[in-house]
Structure formats: C-alpha cells, structure tokens
C-alpha cells in the first residue's frame, strides 16, 4: 500500500459550506425534529379529530392564531426548504445497497431516503394546493374552505371532497405522502438520537427504537382515522354545491376562507342562508 503523496501541499481555504459542515448537518437533523416533526404530530392529531372530537373548531383555532403567516414562514416553510435542500443533496451523495446487503437496518436507511423525497414532493403539492391555491393545471381541483359564505362549517366536507376525488390518485397520493412523512419522522428521530450521541449502546438504541416505533404507529393510527373519516364522510349536495360556487366565483387564488371569516354570521342565520 503506497502512502499518500501530498502531505505538504498548500491546502486552499475551505469553502463556507465546508467550514460550517458540522453545524449544517446538525441543523439539518434539528430542523427535521423541531419544528417539522413537532408540527407533524400536531397536524395529524388535529386531523384525527375529524373522527373523534371537533375538527372544525381545531382548524378555526389554527387559522385564527396571531401572526400566522410569520409562524408559517419561519416555523414551516424555511425549515422544510432547508431540510429538503440539504436532504436531497445528501441523498445524491449516497449509494444505497440494500439489495446486496439486505439487513433490516439497511432497508430502513434506503427507505429513509425514498420517503424523504416522497414526503418533500407531497408537502410541496399539499401546501401549494391548500395554502397557495395552485391547481396543477386543473388536475388537483380540491380547494379547502373553512367556512361557506355565511359561516357554514366546511372543513370536514372540503377534506372529504378532496379524498373522494374522481381521480383515485388523489387519495393514493395523499395516503402515500402522509405515511412517507410519518416513517421519515419516526425513523429520523431514531437515527438522530445516534447522531447527536444520546443513545450510546445497542441496548439504548433498541429502547429508543421501541419509543420511535410506538410514536410512528400512533401517528399512523391518527392519520388512518382521519383518512377513514374523510373517505367515508357523506358530503351533502348543498355543501358540494356551495364549494363549487365559491370555487367558481372567487377572484383571488390565495386563502379565500380568510375573507369569509371577516363576516361571520350567527349559526341559525347561517342555516337559513344555506340554499
């Protein structure tokens, strides 16, 4: 074995990325756990209230949070963008070999990269559609309305219409996307404990693994409950018609429900106003 030839070569100044390599990697790990992972828990728990609890009330609470746009930008879009850009760059620098070395941990590794990319695509489409109003050339005409024109609750009905869409791939894409997020977060929480040096021994890693599997299963159950409810919810004809009319008549693509919220009507009046 020959020794390396150039120990005395003048090393060039390392790039800013190289100088902050450790910090970037640890921020990548941290951004996946807090805020993205914690948000995922709250989001899926909120969704679960479609089946048990008051989904409408929860969504109204979230939409009425103060400084929501800053929470979204600083707590969600920037961390997700940062985590995704670095994650994709790291994935491109790897060479998964689960076929050659088919250990369970190695499949877990490969699946982490696959679900990361799926989760990123899903989160982009999900946010672009429901928050920014993209329709992807009309293929994803599934608007989310919190209220009807006179304050009628529509949160569950909008979700149900989306998941009962004529194209089954909306439901399939949603299920794959949500479960990719759940896996990526639960497995990421497990590996982060090794990377940060929390779980030192194999036994500790196994114990933490039990916790992460439990958390992942809990989130999977929350999502399954919400998906079941939305897929089987009997959407009333008038709710469907209301959403169709609001969709046809709206002028601004972004967040139409915010404008509706400005003029809420009492519940009995809202019932009379419904066609």
């Amino acid at each position: 074995m020959s020794a390396d030839a150039s120990p005395n070569a003048q090393a060039p100044q390392p790039s800013l990325l190289a100088q902050n390599h450790f910090l970037l990697r640890r921020l990548h790990s941290l951004s996946g756990i807090v805020p993205i992972g914690v948000f995922l828990i709250f989001h899926l728990f909120t969704n679960f209230q479609m089946l048990v609890g008051n989904f409408q009330h929860e969504v109204e609470f979230i939409h009425n949070m103060p400084a929501l746009i800053y929470i979204e930008i600083l707590g969600l879009w920037l961390p997700i963008g940062f985590h995704a850009v670095l994650g994709i760059a790291y994935t491109l620098g790897s060479n998964p070999n689960s076929i050659q070395y088919p250990y369970m941990d190695n499949w877990r590794y490969t699946l982490q990269r696959v679900t990361g990319i799926l989760a990123f695509l899903f989160i982009f489409v999900h946010g672009a559609k429901l928050r920014w109003g993209f329709t992807f050339g009309g293929y994803l005409d599934t608007p989310f309305y919190l209220h009807g024109p006179h304050g009628e609750p529509l949160a569950t009905a909008s979700t149900a219409i989306a998941l009962q869409h004529a194209f089954p791939w909306v439901l399939v894409g949603y299920v794959v996307g949500v479960y990719a997020c759940v896996y990526h977060w639960a497995n990421g929480l497990w590996t982060a404990a090794i990377s940060w040096g929390l779980t030192l021994s194999v036994a500790a890693q196994r114990r933490w693994g039990v916790f992460c599997v439990g958390l992942g299963l809990a989130l999977a159950v929350f999502s399954a409950g919400a998906i079941y409810k939305a897929a089987t919810y009997p959407v009333a004809d008038q709710q469907r018609e209301m959403i169709r009319l609001m969709e046809a008549g709206r002028t601004l693509p972004a967040a139409p429900h915010d404008k509706v919220l400005e003029l809420p009507l009492p519940a009995e009046e809202a019932h009379e106003a419904a066609p």
Binding site: H21, T191, I194, S195, G197, V202
Partner: protein, 262 residues
Amino acid sequence: MTAPANTKNIRFKIKRQDGPGKASYWQTFDVPYKPNLNVISCLQYIAEHPVTVAGEKSTPVVWDCNCLEEVCGACTMVINGKVRQSCSALLDELLKETPGGMVTLEPMTKFPVVRDLWVDRSRMFNALKTIQAWVPIDGTHDLGEGPKESAENQDVRYSLSRCMTCGCCLEACPQFLLGNQFIGAQAISQARYFNLHGTGKVLADQRLDAMMGPGGITDCGNAQNCVKVCPKEIPLTESIAAIGRQATVHAVKRFFNGPPRK
C-alpha cells in the same frame, strides 16, 4: 493443464482488471474440489493452473494476502456479493450458500484496484493520520508511569483494538464511496479508541476537530451495515454514537469558549 475429469470441480467467476484505471472483465476457472479448501488455496491452484474454463491460457489472478488467519485484513474481497476475508472463506461453507457450486470473486469496490483482486487501501491509513490515531509519547524526557486503566475501560478498548483495517465496514457502507471523502466507521471507531486511552486523550480535541469537517462523523447515514459485516465484531455503531456525543459536547464547548488559544 486442466483439472482431472473424474473429480468434482468448483467453478470460480473472477472479476479481473489488468491495472489501475483499466477496464475490468470476467474470467471463469475450475478448481477440483477437496475437503477444507479456502478461497486462498483455490486462488493458489488457479495461479498454478491459469487456464480458463474455455481452455484459454490466462495469467495468474493477483490478490493481496498476508497472515492467512483473519488478523491482517489484507485478503479482503467481495465473495459471492459479500465483503469478507478470503482466508477465512471456507469452500464447504460457501458451497452451502451457492448450491450451483459457483463462487464469485470481485475486488472491493470502494478502493482503487491495483490489479485483479488486489486493491489500494491507503485511504484507511490516511484516515488514521487525519485523526491522529496514536498515543503521543515521543520525546527525550521521562514521562513516568502511564495512567491507570479501569477494567471497564479496558474491556471497551480491547473490543476496539481488534480492528485490522481490512475495509469490510467501508465496503458495505452506502455513505462511503470511491469518489467522496467520508472517513468511515473504521477511523471513527479508532478515534474513540484513542480518545479512551489515558494518554491518548490529550489529542481528543484535535481528533474531534478533524472529525467534524466535511467527510467526518456527520456524514454517517446510520445504515449500520458496518457493524454487521465487521469480521472482528467491533461495536462500530456504538463508536459512531460515542464520537457523535463527543462531537456534540465539543461543538457546544467551542461555541461558548471560542476556538482554542494558540
């Protein structure tokens, strides 16, 4: 000269390469079966009878080896798709894995090929230099006795000391590639080994600094293949976690204390 016709033959499919950067190609050889063969003794037979199955006269297949008892790591290669030492790869075991009787030999893919099955493993030795994998006791003055070693510490350090720099952990690692700069489980585990040493730990901060740059500890993807293919059963994933913790603490200290005074 080919094998006698009345004996059972074992067929070897070998990936060959005539030199660094040259194109690789496959050749197949037959070796007559005997009990208790290992891959090295078959390669020795092929060196003596370098004639392919097609009857074509070839050259002896080149490989690297030294101790022949799985303690030096030199004869590591990819055997039937899995990285391991060829000296401890027994044909009676291999033939159970492959009922067809074909054994495939390839050089490791994460190191540059010198010739045929012989690879250049310098990258691992350079990694040991990067992390200063030694105890700094050079000097003309009397350093006195070394520090006492606890039985628990000794236990851990013994398991880490078994590393023979064979490269199995790196060959099986999906993050360690021929073209990248990841330092890999072998050097990470050695950094832990020397940071645990009573005298060796004086270089701990410098080892961690080296371990925190590009290609360092953070480039581990936790696939955990390393620990499964390690022939010396070194707790490599525990070493990765230990260095991860040391790096976390080191980074926090650096953040609040600033860089070391020169």
